[in-house]
Subunit: 386 residues, 4 copies
């Protein structure tokens, strides 16, 4: 589907008969829950185990409180940041997530189009239902990165990376926290099974174009024996900078840099891998302290508000990756939904720069933060806040 | 409407047929929720974003625990305090809030009358639905302050300030935390839109007497480029002392004083501007430590109990501003409701002085306080407290 | 009603047709809630203001965790303690609470009888619906103390104390935290009004035997100008030791001892006076540290479990006072209910001595305690504890 | 019933008509709740008093957060550990719990069979509804330990231990935290009464083969005067190593070792004895620090996840004991259910080793842990996690 046709549909989507797009990410999530079948919604929404880390990812951002400054001229803001030497219009990027055609028939192409309209870099998953070259065609203007899962069959991985490089993707994001998939109990409860989907990487890995795989079978295609040496090899053989995604400790951040990583992403895979690992916001400071002066640090996990973005940058991140909310936007309204979700975050971030008295994102620092012992109060003191 | 007529109605309101006024602020809030349409109630009740700060404002006062002293002669209490050299009968003041005619047809005039009867200073909002001169006429005996939003058209602001000064208002409260309005999601959910309202300041700012504006349009009239220099200029050109409202850090408090502020108000705008900023009670100590020996410090945000007032004064504030509860009083019973809400707080404050063993408000200090790690328990241990 | 008749009824109460008495204090509270009218239940159950302190009293005991010791011979326990040089069979005493005829027609006489059977000292309230002499007659074998409110008309107080002394009461407990009654909002909500009740002290204070008073009127009879000098005077003129009830700080404990107090009770009046004051369990350590080597320290507030009693003694209290649970016992089954409630606590305390490995109550110390940052979990991690 | 017959039934249980076994422990608990009568379920599920410790046991594991390491070759894991010099295939053992015929007609024999199939050591309770020799016959290949309650009639205890030793049980676990049974209020509420059950130990203790006993009567058979000397005596007279189960302090751990214990189990008896004692996870570190270099330390209480097992080993435990979940497995599907519950834990543990980057259980240490002030968030910030 070309971009014209998509634009046509978007236009129809915004005719008066259509309900307007939500104005908050929570409403996008609610609408997505209504539209998707429970299995698919649960696959995206869920985390590993008891979902302690899933919830803590969000709570940890909320535990950080802001110390805003006043009477700064904030009539002009600069939300831009840099990553790998490139200027980004704003620090909100699309995290790599799998199988976008589960959420919308246009899949990753719609995501990429929406991201491009919002000037948001897009990180395409190895488990995408579109090829890197298709994404490049769908969103030629977008900054594109390619997320790498290393298959046991290294040829498959190599071919995908080469296609990404040839298609103008500008960095590889090596995911290091999935030797095996985490145990996602929502999927067990809903009985979620992947429907028949064209997943180019998997077709290549199993050597059959119409292989229908379950998550267990997919997991078995991945290489659980990966080590830092494999990172070094990837760095050595790739023309693209390699970013290590999934670091939660200073030790691993140091190791990644020593092995040639161009940047690191502090991430616990959205709470989907090992339940009970620390929240991303709690791991970020030690990583920034260890390697922040040498390389760029990104973070993902629980970013749901413009103020979360601001807090991440104040802690030293260059940018953030956003996963589930983008999927909710995609499920609700395709490319237009993705764009809207991103714009909501961008606008909130822009407003929070103004209200924090730090008009330039690059000037954010820890002086605007305060760590609180207290998470958000569940309720007001008596009969609700009044 | 003259004060006589209003008194007449108040009398009618207290005839046996009328339900008696509530005895707690929580009940006022509940009644107001019933009486106001959901959009208006939400506009007043809501905060920015996820309302973390809105709730934390209340919770932070509750986290402070009291260490009361016994066997002090408390048969006579002195609730009085001073502000800008003036004696106040008690430390409970009416915070500036917008558009009182949304809550009651008599609007700010009723608020002012109720405040005057409770001997509570009133801070009139720039976004009032009455002129400063009308308020002076409605409540000539009240201590009146004027809250200043700086319009891009400085002439409008100047004219309002001059009218306030000429009408016997005794201080200007420059709000410094609204370069833009915060994002209040309750309004998005309810679809709240300002009805047609006469707002003298806005009419002047747009040059049309019957302009109907939405919050976005109003926000665009404000000057987001305001800096400390503008404060200096206001201080230089105004005959009235200028109080800076919206300070949350020691740094800004110092800067405000250096720029000529006569006092500061520790405030996060009732949690309506930037969600996630620290609670007012959490910011107050560092501001008092920084400038409390040089100028008067006020505080607002989450004050719902006489003990909250006591805690604020014990932390070094001279007085507190109360916003939403006054609006609930206004919505429920006009001037009589405002008076009642204020008297409930005053009486609770007076009683808490007695029960704390500190009969004179001016003797309050941190020795009566203890910071607890524990907010109020949501429930008793088992089946509720017994 | 003589003790024989009461015993007769108790026997009837325990015939098979009667439902058996509850086995937990929570069930007593639940039954009392069913039996009493909502106003009376609320009067007893409620606290001041938002009931933060009411709930925190219970939560604070729960925040203390136990470090039990094993393989101690606990086949024989000694629950006894001493107070004012007297041996008590166990440390659980009946707190002074008002108007027992609200809970049961036999009023304080039933309470005293139940307490006597459980070998629990009883502290009779000034606001009792029975005279000290009647209580002495109803429970001659019980250890009896008399709680003193000082009326403006000192003659009334003096006469009551003299009657108590003459009736074999062995100590006066001067309540120091009620210059005025706290604001109990449950009573405002339920519209609770005291029914016609014979209250000997009040009849004397107003000089009319059938005066029907409300709480406000009663409050006005009390002397809010009481100071440490009045304590000194009471100590000087009374033949009985004077215990100061209502101390929450080391400073006041020191002052009480300096003024001649024979002991102090750490208490916040069951959370009924000033909401937001620290929990009794949180105040106890500093009081024990200040005066525990010189005088006996008691504590009340939130004691609902035998382990709470153990924790109180481990923190240095000689004994505890129990209020509301005794009233629930009284409401449910008169003297038998009181006895049962007390025995449940005594038995739990006895068992907790065994399970803590400290068979003698007098050997309890802080080594069995650990302060936890974590109150009781509201729920298990997922679908409840399993 | 021989093993063949049992296998036959298991096969029938796994025919397609049968519902499949649950995939999570929470579901096992839910199914067990449905299948067992409320009294029996409550007897197993409940704890002492207000169940603070019961819930805290689970919460305390959740308060520990993980710091996982990446890019370690985890394609092969080694879950094995050692205990008393013996290699265990994995660290998940079956805790001693009473009366398995309450849960399933096959009782402990089914438990033992399921444990054996999962290569899990089994600790048989003194209060088992099967003799040690029967268990040896039912699960000859299993590692078997015998839990010892010391009866007042020491001959009974001695005979049981000798039977255990003769039947190939390889260690005695002396339970030291039950001089008396804790007060389990769920049983009081449900009116739980033990049905007629053949309990060989009790029959021996009372000298009647068909004695029907209640928990109180059973408690009275136990010796509450037990001391460390009795441990020394047991150590001296037994050919088997003696493990002390129920230690919660460094002091008692030291004392146990000094008295000849071969190992200790940090345990609060699943929160069933003294409510308010510290969580097992909170007590473990000080015990490991005190004696961990000299003897093996086990832990039980609140282990519900493979990550809880990993955390226990990271804190220095050699293995963990699992109680209630095994009973749920037994209640739901006999031996097959026990096996399944254990395998779920083993598989989760194995996966968590991989995802933590520590492929060998013996390499776990505190560097993978972080103590958090924050338990699991009850909810996401707004309308649930999204």
């Amino acid at each position: 589907m070309g971009s014209e046709e998509r634009d046509g549909r978007r236009q129809r989507a915004s005719t008066p008969q259509q309900p307007p797009l939500p104005a908050t990410l929570a409403e996008f999530a609610e609408l997505a829950r209504e539209r998707l079948d429970p299995g698919t919604f649960g696959y995206y929404a869920g985390g590993a185990g008891a979902e302690i880390t899933l919830r803590d990812n969000e709570a940890a951002w909320a535990r950080l409180r802001l110390r805003p400054r006043m009477l700064v001229d904030v009539s002009r803001r600069d939300t831009s940041t840099t990553f790998l030497g490139q200027r980004l219009a704003h620090p909100i990027c699309v995290a790599p997530t799998a199988f976008h055609r589960l959420a919308h028939p246009d899949g990753e192409k719609a995501t990429a189009a929406g991201a491009a309209r919002a000037q948001a870099p897009l990180c395409l998953s190895t488990l995408a239902t579109a090829r890197p070259s298709e994404i490049a065609e769908a969103a030629p203007e977008a900054t594109r990165w390619f997320q790498v899962y290393v298959f046991r069959d290294r040829g498959v991985t190599r071919a995908l990376c080469e296609e990404a490089a040839a298609s103008g993707f500008s960095a590889l994001f090596l995911t290091v926290d999935v030797p095996y998939f985490g145990r996602r109990e929502r999927d067990l409860r809903t009985g979620f099974a992947l429907p028949a989907l064209e997943v180019p990487s998997l077709a290549a890995a199993v050597g059959e174009s119409d292989a229908r795989l379950d998550m267990r079978a997919i997991g078995e295609l991945l290489d659980a024996s990966l080590t830092w040496r494999d990172l070094e090899e990837l760095v050595g053989t790739s023309d693209l900078p390699v970013v290590v995604k999934g670091v939660l400790t200073a030790e691993d951040a140091r190791r990644a840099i020593a092995s040639g990583a161009a940047a690191v992403v502090v991430s616990n895979h959205g709470g989907r891998q090992l339940d009970g690992v620390r929240a991303a916001a709690d791991a970020l400071p030690e990583v920034v302290e260890e390697v922040g002066e040498e390389v760029d640090v990104l973070v993902d996990g629980g970013i749901r508000r413009g103020t979360d973005v601001l807090k991440a940058l104040a802690l030293g991140a260059r940018a953030v990756l956003v996963g589930r909310p983008v999927l909710w936007g995609l499920a609700v309204a395709g490319a237009a939904g993705v764009e809207r979700v991103l714009r909501l975050l961008i606008d909130e971030f822009d407003l929070s720069l103004a209200l924090c008295g730090v008009p330039r994102a690059c000037d954010l620092g820890t002086s605007v933060l305060e760590r609180s012992l207290h998470g958000p109060s569940a309720v007001g003191r008596e009969s609700g806040t009044f």
